[in-house]
């Protein structure tokens, strides 16, 4: 496989406001590095993430999408992350069918206390997506500049 040494993937991370966004803040407080390719979008709860957002991201040229929420049982809204888990497993299998590898999508539970886990997760995910290379599927070339 051809690997482009300079390839920097574009990663969209949806983080729930109560756990994972705070976990990302904690990673910052503790100065735990992770690649700048990760861009975080704040949502109130991981269950706010509409599959449309993910499709849109891939359409617009994202190489990977990760959704982070509270650990099961710890959702600020009691049960939102359970919905996320079910919705995303369906969506990811559909994306897989469409040719977007499973490794490009991920759901991860990161609590507000897990800054280190946040950074480690992002490092791992970026490495994983980088290894896959650029995502061509679903991409709408009209959206590229």
């Amino acid at each position: 496989m051809q690997v482009n040494e300079n390839f920097k993937p574009l990663i969209v991370a949806f983080c729930c406001n109560w756990c994972s966004y705070a976990g990302a803040d904690l990673a910052g407080n503790n100065r735990l590095n992770y690649p700048a390719e990760v861009k975080i979008i704040r949502v109130p709860c991981s269950c706010r993430v509409n599959p449309m957002f993910i499709l849109r991201a891939f359409q617009r040229g994202a190489d990977g999408v990760i959704i982070c929420g509270c650990h099961p049982g710890d959702c600020h809204y009691t049960s939102g992350n359970y919905f996320t888990r079910r919705r995303m497993s369906l969506l990811f299998s559909m994306l897989d069918y469409l040719g977007i590898e499973r490794e490009r999508t991920r759901v991860e539970w990161v609590s507000a206390a897990e800054g280190a886990k946040f950074a480690a997760t992002m490092n791992d995910f970026v490495a994983q997506v980088t290894a896959l290379g650029e995502n061509k599927r679903l991409e709408d070339l009209r959206c590229k500049e």
Binding site: W18, G28, Y34, P44, A57, D74
Partner: protein, 664 residues
């Protein structure tokens, strides 16, 4: 079209160190809708805020983007600034270029590039922001305190003193908690009971305080200002209002072999019991696991001897619902199990005890009436070994114990050692320590007194093995400073067991939707600036459920939590979160998908008349969101198949715009 102002903060060098703020301000200037862009050293300062206000007026801004620290830090600040300038506070968006950019990336070009993208995403979002007006909800002027230890008692007393009614729910038959079991307290050596019991009595007699003892929380619903809590009052088989606490039943009960949990199983109580003399409420409780009458239907001695007629074998658990404006968690701690540390032979010898058991052994109301006697043979111990840090400070991969320092052990061990030497000068006392940690007022002085005045042998090192043999405990330990392995024949070994949050805290946190750390301590809203609040609005933290603490710290936190509760209960109305779901009636097809996923029951359906284009009317079933109940998770928006449901402040369009801006 919006008129957006962009304000890029340097945060001193926190942001400016890795992000070229001038370049960011410059790059965002040409984004759609942006009419003003500037940078400043500290946007959150008064001068910075004034700069925003001036720009709003001067450039007739309709929206604001602040590129600064996390919105969790200063979103409220900048919303207030906007409001002061006459803007709707929800026309502000924050681009987090500190925690999620400058602090995690090291190189200036990379940090700058990312900051620009985050800024663009925020601009894209603000372009679609609409003014939001928060609803208001009334406040139930009653507080709930969960846990009746010193933390819960202090919180309840302070709230009650301010004139608000407060309920304490305690799972045991009496309030008092761990402090009631302690003998003396460091560093002043005043007796725990002497300072605690007056507070227990105050709580019991205060007209603003109701104590639900022997009770547990079953269910929590609602939100800040309007919690609905189901409380289960367990059957104690004694009518609380009639029992006089005379204790006659507890003397006559024929079932004498029940391990006494108040003395940590070191002696026995009866099946009907009052935990200790100063219990509040001073009411007997029948233990259904041991009561012969409840188990076999034959006995009834307590009912016969009770002159008040308070015994009621038919009593059932009772569940009732109360409404509260605020909830305080004060669930406390327990020493960890010593099962994983049996190299210290805790399970093999009765003369290896934990420090809490030691408290009971030296307490005048304890199993030995305050005489320090060995549990195995009742003899006076002549050599006592204290082992510190048992189960504290363990690494994660050791797969036993806790990673944190339990904080109180150094001081109580110094206290125990000192008291033993004071009362029994013929006793040799060894304390094995890794570090002696005594940060606190008069703490180190106290520890030094134990060494210098009382002659306690402090040994830097750790006990590796305790071998019971004959009536001795052979203690093998290292003395690191002398570079020796010590072999001590001890009579009593006391383990300073790590402390952990009470097991009831985890299910409670789930009910409260309050977050916990990996050790099951409640997480505070901010580790420094909001240490007594949970991130869940209306839930406050008191005492060791938030982290290891000694008594003075617990009491300070308890009072601080009370102050926060009082501040909340003083308000007549609370301004809610306007970022709630709303349904577009014209698109709603009445399918009920949203209703099924809503955890709050905030969505109801109604039949509504709609005018059709042909001027007829049609009755359609449509979703309605109760804005006071909706918490804004957005789950329904994804469930909605017709795209009718959306979330204010985090609308589909807004998030899509952010995605587009990032992926451009």
């Amino acid at each position: 079209m919006q008129r957006i102002g962009v304000f890029v903060c340097w945060c001193g060098t926190n942001i400016a160190g890795t992000v070229d703020v001038k370049k960011v301000a410059e790059a965002l200037k040409d984004e759609p809708g942006v009419v003003f862009s500037a940078d400043y050293q500290y946007m959150c300062s008064q001068a910075g805020q004034d700069m925003i206000k001036d720009a709003v007026k001067e450039h007739k801004l309709t929206g604001i983007v602040v590129c600064s620290c996390s919105p969790r830090m200063h979103e409220t600040t900048f919303r207030k600034t906007a409001a002061a300038a006459g803007l709707n506070p929800y026309m502000v968006e924050i681009a987090n270029i500190r925690e999620q950019c400058s602090w995690v990336h090291k190189e200036m070009p990379i940090g700058t590039e990312k900051a620009i993208i985050l800024g663009k995403a925020a601009v894209a979002k603000v372009n679609l922001n609409t003014p939001l007006i928060a609803g208001q909800s009334p406040v139930t002027k009653r507080a709930l305190v969960i846990g009746g230890g010193i933390a819960g008692i202090q919180t309840a007393l302070d709230i009650a003193d301010a004139g608000f009614p407060v309920d304490i729910v305690e799972k045991l038959p009496t309030i008092g908690g761990k402090m009631a079991q302690l003998d003396k307290t460091f560093p002043t050596l005043d007796c725990a009971a002497c300072i605690l019991t007056p507070k227990m009595v105050d709580a019991g007699q205060n007209e603003n305080i109701r104590i639900f003892s022997y009770s547990e929380i079953e269910e929590v619903g609602g939100f800040v200002g309007n919690f609905t809590v189901k409380i289960k009052k367990k059957a104690r088989y004694v009518k609380e209002d009639i029992c006089t606490g005379c204790g006659l039943c507890t003397e006559k009960c024929p079932q004498k072999k029940v391990p006494n949990e108040f003395n940590l199983g070191m002696d026995n109580r009866r099946a009907v019991y009052i935990p200790f003399a100063q219990a509040v409420p001073k009411v007997a409780t029948i233990d259904p696991n041991y009561c012969t009458m409840l188990k076999t239907g034959k006995c009834g001695v307590c009912a016969k001897v009770c002159t008040a007629g308070a015994i009621d074998y038919t009593q059932k658990d009772e569940v009732f619902t109360e409404k509260y404006g605020a909830i305080v968690a004060a669930t406390g701690y327990n020493p960890i199990s010593m099962d994983k540390f049996d190299e210290f032979a805790y399970n093999q010898s009765r003369d290896v005890i934990t420090s809490l058991e030691f408290e009971r052994l030296t307490n005048a109301a304890g199993p030995t009436a305050g005489k320090l006697l060995r549990p195995s043979d009742g003899k006076h111990p002549h050599t006592i070994v204290f082992v510190q840090c048992v189960g504290s400070r363990c690494s994660h991969d050791a797969e036993k114990g806790k990673e944190y320092c339990s904080k109180i052990c150094c001081m109580y061990t110094a206290k125990h050692a000192m008291l033993v030497r004071d009362k029994y000068p013929d006793t040799e006392v060894y304390v094995f320590y890794i570090d002696v940690r005594t940060p606190g007022k008069a703490f180190d002085e106290f520890y030094r007194r134990a060494v210098e005045e009382y002659g306690v042998h402090y040994v830097k090192g750790m006990v590796g093995k305790v071998t019971p043999e004959g009536d001795k405990l052979k203690v093998l330990a290292s003395d690191l400073l002398a570079d020796k392995q010590l072999k001590i024949d001890a009579d009593l070994v006391v383990l300073a067991a790590a402390i952990e949050p009470d097991k009831s805290a985890r299910p409670l946190a789930t009910m409260l939707t309050a977050s916990m750390d990996t050790n099951d301590f409640f997480t505070e809203a901010h580790p420094k600036l909001r240490p007594v609040e949970s991130p869940t609005a209306g839930v406050f933290l008191s005492g060791t459920c938030q982290g290891p603490k000694d008594i003075p710290e617990t009491v300070s936190q308890a009072s601080a939590a009370a102050a926060k509760v009082i501040g909340l209960l003083c308000k007549d109305k609370l301004t809610g979160n306007p970022c709630v779901a709303s349904s577009n009636e014209l698109m709603c097809n009445g399918c009920s998908s949203c209703e099924k996923v809503c955890p709050y029951g905030a969505i109801t359906y109604m039949d509504k008349e709609f005018r059709m284009p042909d001027r007829t009317t049609k009755l359609r079933r449509v979703a309605m969101v109760n804005e006071a109940v909706c918490q804004g998770c957005g789950c329904c928006t994804v469930a909605c198949p017709s795209g009718a449901m959306d979330l204010k402040g985090f609308a589909n369009e807004q998030i899509m715009a952010e995605v587009d801006a990032i992926c451009k």
